[in-house]
Symmetry: C2
Subunit: 701 residues, 2 copies
C-alpha cells in the first residue's frame, strides 16, 4: 500500500509515522535515526533550511506526489495502481483540494480502472470545513448532499464522523473498503466482473485543528480556520501561548509513547514486520523502474522523397510498443487520438473505459478522457511507479497542464538529488494539430506556449524536439521512450509532409540535434552569405522553399539551410547539456553572417534561449505571433510572417547590408518577391484555399 497525501502542509503527520516505523532512519541514518538524536533533528529541523519542508516532497520516503499545488493527488493515485494489480493507494483529499477542478474530474477515474488488471484506490475525503480562511464547499454540504454526489460519481460511500469513537470507525471503514475492493477484484479476476462496480470511498469529518488548542487570545482555534498552519504564533515570546502549547503537547503523553526518545513497545508491535510493507519502504514508490521493450523503429520509416504523416507512422510504432509491453506502457489522451492520426495503435490494443457497456475493453493501453489534468495525473502516477507513458495532445491544449508539469519536474529534480531514489522513465508528450494547420479549428487552437514551460525547467531534465519529418519523428519517439528522468516534448505534423532524410540520415540528424542541409543550400552550404534556420515542420518547409526562391532570384547568393530538431542545441554554451560548443555553433551559423530563424514557437522564447550566443545583432527570429483564424495552412504562414516570401525578404534585407553586390538590386528583388506573395494572397482570398504548387516536394531531395 502507498499513501498519497493531498492536503497542503500535510507532511508532519507522514514524517512522524515514517520516523516511528524506522523508514527515516533507514534512508537518513545519520540524521533521523529512530532515537533521541533523530527525534530532535526531526523536530528542530522541520520547515527550516536543511530540514523537511511542510509539504510532502521527494525527500519524504514513500511519497510519489509533490504536495503544495492542490488538485492532483487523486489522479496520481489512480495512475499508480494501473497495471499494478496488487497495489492499493490510500489517498487523502482535503476539502480545500476537493474544490479544485482537477480533483472534481478525477473522481471519475474509477471508470477507467479494470479490476482484473489494476489495483485500487481508497479515497478518503477529509472534510474539516475550512480552507486557509474561508469555509469549504464540502464542509457546508450535509451528508445527504455528499452521499448523492459521490454515489452519482459511482462510489459506495462510508461517512466517518463520530468523534468519540473515530479510530474504531475509521478502522472499520478501511476494513470495509478493503473487503469491497477484494470482492470487486476477485469477481473480475475470475472472469465474472461486476458491471459498474461501486468502488468504496470514505468521507471523514473532523473539526479543523482537532485536538489542538481550543481557544487562544479569545479566538476559537479548534474547529476554525485559525488552526491553519501555526495555531500559536507567539509561543516564543508570549508566556500564555507557551503555556497553552505545553498543555496541548503534554496531553499526548509523549513520555510514555517515546521513552528515552524511542518508540514504545506498544507502537513497535503494530508496525509491519516486513520492511517492504512499511509506509516509507514500499518499492513501488522509489525503486520500480521497468524499461520498455522497444521494437526497432526503422521498419516504420518512409522513403526519402515521399510524403508521410509523422503521426500515422508513429501510431504504427506505438502499436508495436503496446504489443511488446502489455503491462508497462500506456497512452493518456484527451479525446484526440483519432483526430491526431495516432489511431493505428488501436489496431493492436483498445481503449480502457469500463463504464461503456458496449466495449468494457480489457487490457486496452489507451485512456481517452477529456481532462488534460486527469491524463497528466495518471501519467505521473504511472511513471512514478516505474512504468512508461505517453501523452499526445493538440498543441494548444497541453498548456492546460503547464503548472502540473512544473510541479512534477520539481519532484523529479529533488528525487534525483535523493540518493535512495532510483531512475524513472521520462514523461513524454507529443504535440500535433499545431497552429500551422488550423484549417478546421482556428484561432482558439493556436497556442504553442507549452514549449516555454519546458524551456524554464532545469536544463538537465528538459528536452524539446521539433523533428522536421516522419523519419526524424520516429527516431525521436524511440529515443524518448527509452530515456530516463527527462521531460520530453516532441512536436510534429499529423498531415503528410515531405520526408527529407533517409532513416539512417534521420537517426544521425537526431543524434546531432541540428545540421546544415546541403541538399537545400546553395554551394553545398559552404561559405554562406546568409543562414536560414528552420525549427518545426511547416516553418522548415518554408525555409527550404525560401532557399529555392533565392537560388532562382539571386543565383550568386550563397544560402545555407540549417534545420534544428533538438531545440536545446541552441542554448548558450554550458546552459544545457545538449548546447552546441561555441566552435560548433560558429561552424554552423558562422560568426558574422546574418542568421534568419524561422521558428515554430513564440519568437521571445527562442530569443531568450540563444541569448549569450556570439553576434546576436545579426540574428532575427520570427515565429507564431497570435495571428490567425480558420484559414489555409499557407495563409497561417503569411499572417505570422514566416512564409517563404517573408523569409526571402528578411534574408535579402539582412544580406544586402553586408554584401555590396546585392545593394544595387535589392529593391528590385524585394519587389519581385512581393509580387509573388501578392499573387498567392489573391488566390487564397478568392478561392478560399492554397495554390496546389505550394506543396510541391522541394528540389534537391
Amino acid at each position: 500500500m502507498l499513501f498519497v497525501i493531498g492536503p497542503g502542509h500535510g507532511a508532519p503527520a507522514a514524517l512522524a509515522a515514517l520516523w516511528l516505523e524506522g523508514s527515516l532512519g533507514r534512508f537518513y541514518p545519520n540524521k533521523y535515526s529512530t532515537d533521541r538524536k533523530g527525534l530532535n533533528n526531526l523536530i528542530t529541523k522541520f520547515s527550516v533550511p536543511g530540514g523537511f519542508p511542510s509539504h510532502i516532497n521527494p525527500e519524504t520516503p514513500g511519497s510519489i506526489h509533490e504536495g503544495g499545488e492542490l488538485g492532483y493527488a487523486l489522479a496520481v493515485s489512480f495512475g499508480a495502481v494501473m497495471d499494478n494489480p496488487d497495489l492499493i493507494v490510500t489517498c487523502v483529499v482535503g476539502d480545500g483540494e476537493a474544490e479544485s477542478g482537477p480533483t472534481a474530474a478525477a473522481w471519475h477515474a474509477i471508470k477507467y480502472l479494470d479490476p482484473a488488471e489494476s489495483g485500487a484506490v481508497i479515497p478518503i475525503l477529509h472534510v474539516n470545513g475550512f480552507k486557509i480562511s474561508e469555509r469549504t464547499i464540502f464542509g457546508c454540504m450535509d451528508d445527504k448532499e455528499l452521499l448523492a454526489l459521490f454515489s452519482g460519481y459511482g462510489y459506495s460511500v462510508c461517512i466517518v464522523e463520530a468523534l468519540d469513537r473515530i479510530d474504531d470507525e475509521l478502522s472499520c471503514a478501511l476494513e470495509w473498503a478493503l473487503s469491497e475492493i477484494r470482492h470487486i477484484q476477485k469477481r473480475a479476476r475470475q472472469g465474472k466482473p461486476l458491471i459498474k462496480p461501486r468502488w468504496p470511498m470514505v468521507i471523514l469529518r473532523t473539526p479543523k485543528g482537532w485536538g489542538g488548542p481550543k481557544k487562544v487570545d479569545g479566538n476559537f482555534i479548534e474547529g476554525s480556520f485559525h488552526s491553519h498552519q501555526v495555531p500559536l504564533s507567539k509561543a516564543k515570546t508570549d508566556k500564555g501561548h507557551l503555556e497553552i502549547l505545553g498543555e496541548w503537547l503534554g496531553g499526548y503523553g509523549v513520555g510514555q509513547l517515546l521513552p528515552e526518545g524511542r518508540p514504545a513497545k506498544s507502537i513497535l508491535e503494530v508496525l509491519p514486520k516486513t520492511d517492504s510493507k512499511k509506509l516509507g519502504q514500499v518499492k513501488y514508490g522509489y525503486d520500480a523502474y521497468q524499461p520498455l521493450v522497444m521494437p526497432d523503429w526503422r521498419p516504420f520509416a518512409q522513403d526519402k522523397g515521399t510524403q508521410a504523416s509523422s503521426m500515422k507512422e508513429t501510431g504504427k510504432l506505438l502499436a508495436a510498443v503496446a504489443s511488446k509491453n502489455p503491462k508497462g506502457f500506456r497512452m493518456f489522451s484527451p479525446d484526440e487520438l483519432e483526430s491526431n492520426k495516432l489511431d493505428a495503435i488501436l489496431d493492436n490494443t483498445g481503449r480502457n473505459f469500463q463504464w461503456d457497456e458496449y466495449s468494457r475493453a480489457k487490457g486496452g493501453r489507451v485512456i481517452e478522457i477529456l481532462s488534460e489534468h486527469s491524463c497528466q495525473g495518471f501519467m505521473q502516477g504511472y511513471t512514478l511507479t516505474g512504468r512508461t507513458a505517453l501523452f499526445p495532445s493538440y498543441e494548444s491544449f497541453l498548456g492546460i497542464i503547464h503548472t502540473m508539469v512544473v510541479q512534477y519536474s520539481k519532484f523529479n529534480k529533488v528525487a534525483r538529488e535523493v540518493d535512495w531514489r532510483r531512475d524513472l522513465s521520462s514523461i513524454n508528450y507529443i504535440e500535433t494539430s499545431t497552429w500551422a494547420r488550423q484549417e478546421h479549428n482556428g484561432f482558439s487552437h493556436q497556442n504553442p506556449s507549452f514549449i516555454g514551460a519546458i524551456l524554464n525547467l532545469k536544463a538537465d531534465a528538459a528536452r524539446v524536439y521539433l523533428p522536421p519529418d516522419a523519419n526524424c519523428f520516429l527516431s525521436t519517439v524511440d529515443h524518448c521512450l527509452k530515456s530516463k528522468n527527462y521531460v520530453n516534448l516532441i512536436i510534429g505534423s499529423k498531415q503528410p509532409t515531405a520526408v527529407y532524410l533517409s532513416p539512417e540520415d534521420a537517426a544521425e540528424h537526431c543524434r546531432k540535434g541540428a545540421a546544415i542541409w546541403k541538399f537545400a543550400s546553395s554551394n553545398d552550404g559552404k561559405d554562406p552569405d546568409v543562414v536560414l534556420v528552420g525549427i518545426g515542420v511547416e516553418v522548415t518547409f518554408e525555409v527550404v522553399k525560401a532557399a529555392e526562391l533565392l537560388r532562382t532570384l539571386v543565383p550568386e547568393l550563397n544560402v545555407r539551410v540549417v534545420n534544428v530538431t533538438d531545440l536545446f542545441v541552441l542554448a548558450a554554451e554550458s546552459r544545457h547539456p545538449h548546447a552546441l560548443s561555441r566552435k560548433d555553433f560558429i561552424e554552423m551559423f558562422t560568426d558574422d553572417k546574418p542568421v534568419c530563424f524561422n521558428y515554430h514557437g513564440y519568437e521571445k522564447e527562442l530569443q531568450g534561449l540563444i541569448f549569450g550566443r556570439p553576434g546576436l545583432h545579426r540574428m532575427t527570429v520570427e515565429g507564431y505571433k497570435e495571428e490567425g483564424s480558420t484559414t489555409t495552412p499557407f495563409d497561417m504562414m503569411i499572417v505570422n510572417g514566416v512564409s517563404r516570401f517573408d523569409l526571402a525578404k528578411r534574408a535579402l534585407r539582412a544580406t544586402s547590408e553586408q554584401k555590396t553586390s546585392l545593394q544595387a538590386k535589392v529593391d528590385d528583388l524585394l519587389a519581385a518577391v512581393n509580387s509573388e506573395l501578392a499573387k498567392v494572397k489573391d488566390y487564397i482570398s478568392s478561392e478560399g484555399k492554397d495554390p496546389d504548387d505550394l506543396y510541391d516536394m522541394p528540389t534537391g531531395i
Copy 2:
C-alpha cells in the same frame, strides 16, 4: 438572456439563428443581410478564410465566450450573471466538456450566487454520448447516476430525452427552469431567501449527429462518433455521398422555410419583437462597460523611508473600491486573501458564499473558491458583461489558468477588431507570496512562469508590472483598475519592504515605467561604469544593497541603479507600445557599459524581451532558476544567484574587462565579496534564519 455555447464546433447552430433573427444583418449589413445574398455568404464562407470559424468567436453577435478550448462555458456564464439581477444565461455544456476539471468544479458555482443581487444560469448538459471518437463518461451514466450526481451538486434536475416529442419537452423544461428561478429570486428579493435553493438544470439526451445521415459507406453516422465535424467527407467527389447529402438537407424543407432566401413568416413570428432581446443584440454581451468609481489612492500611500506591505496597503485601497462600487467590482480569489494580506477589504465587504449557513453573506464582493479555473471563468464572465474584477493569487498558482488567459486574450484581440463591440475593463491579476518569500511553503510554491504567459500575448493588450514598493504598487493598481481592454499582471510582496519613493515620485516612476534611481547610485547615476537593474521587489532590494556594497569596496566605481516597474519598457523598440525609444534606452542603460539585470522571473523571458536592444553582449540576466526549498528569504537570493554578493561579483567581473584601473585588484575584491557571502551562508545554515542586518533600510532614502 444570453446564450453561452460550450460544445466545440457549436457555431453553426448559433450563426443560423443569428442570421434568421437579423442580428448578422445588423452587424454585417453588407455581408450577411437577411436575404439570398447574405444566406449565400453565410453558407459558402463558413469555416474558410474570411468567414465565420466553426467555433464561437467574438465575431459571433451575442457571444461572450471563445469556443474551442473546452471547460469554461459554465464558470463564464455564472460570472456574467453576478450583480446582473435581470440577466439569465442559458449555457449548453457538451458531455465532452463536462469531463473537464474546470467544468466539474464550476457546477458548484450556484453556491456563490445570491438570488437577491444576481441573475441566474440555466445549464443544459447536452449528452450525446460521444467525444471526437471515444464514448463520454456522462453518456455512459444512466439517469439514476446523473440525478444523484447533480442533486448532490445542489441542482433540481430535469431530464429531456423523449426523441419523438423533444421540442415540447425541452420547451416545458425551460419554462419549468424559468419558473424555478423566478421563485428562488422572488423569495430572496422579498427578504425571505430559500436556504440552499435548488437551482434548476436540464439534461438533454439526443443521439450524436441526430437528424443527419443514418449510415454512410457501411458506418453508422447518426448516434456514433462518425458524425463528428464532417459526416460526408467525400460529397465533392463521390456521387453516393452527394446523394445522401441532398436527401438529408432536402428533408428540412428549406424552400418553405426560406422562400426566396428570406425567413418565412412562421419564423419571423416567433422572433422577439424588440431587437435588444434578440440572441445577438442583448447589450450585456457587447456594450455594457461601466467604469469603476475610483477613490484617490494617495491617502493610502506610506511615507518614504518606512517599511510597508504592498498588499496590506492595497487591501485598504480595495476596501474603498468595494465601498464605492457595490455592484460593479468583485474579487475572485482561490482561498488566499488572508494569507496574501489583502484581507483589509473584508473590513468593508464580505465573502459571498451562500452555502455557509453561518454567514450567508449578502452583497459580499469577495468569492474565495479553491478553483483557479472557476475564479478565472467568473472574472471573464463578469468583465465581458461590463464590470471590473481582480484576481489575486499566490504567484506560483496563476499559471494554472495560463491557457484560459490566452483564450480570453484571443477573444479580446478579435473583439477589438470587430467594430460593433465596445470597450471592456481590463482583467487584473495580483501575484504575491512569490518565490522570493517561501520560508513557509517552499519549492512547490516557486513558479513565476505566469509572466511568460503575458509576454507572449499581443503587445497592445499585455501589461506586466513589478512595482518596487508599496506606493508604486498602489499607483499601479489604481491605473490598472481604470484601464481598458488589457490583461494586467501586477507582482509584489506581502511582507513589509522598504518604501523608496514618496507618493508623488511613485506616481511619476510608474508613469515612466523605469528610472535611474539617483539615491541608490554613485555620482547621482551619472557617467556610470556599470548599470545594475532591479525588476521585482526583493531582487531590486539586492540591487540597491549591491550598489552600497560596491560603493564601500570601490568608491571610484560609478554604479548606476535602475529600477524597472513596467516590464514592457524593455521590449525592443516598436515591439510594444510602452517600449522605450532607442534614445531613451541608451540614455538609461548607456550603449556600451555592462548592464546587469537582477530579474524576478525566469532569465530566458527577459532575455527574449530585450532581444533587439543595442549591445546585448554586454548584458547579463539572472533570475529565478528553480532552486529553493522552505528556506530563508536571503537564502533564496543566494541559491538563485541574485543576492547582492552575486550581483556585486557579476558587476566587478564585467566592469573590470572595460575599466583598466579595476583589473589589478579585481581578484582581491571578489575575494572580499566571497568572504562576506560565506559569513552569511554560515549564519543561515547554523541558525536557520537570516542575519537581521540584511534587512536594514538602504542608505540614501
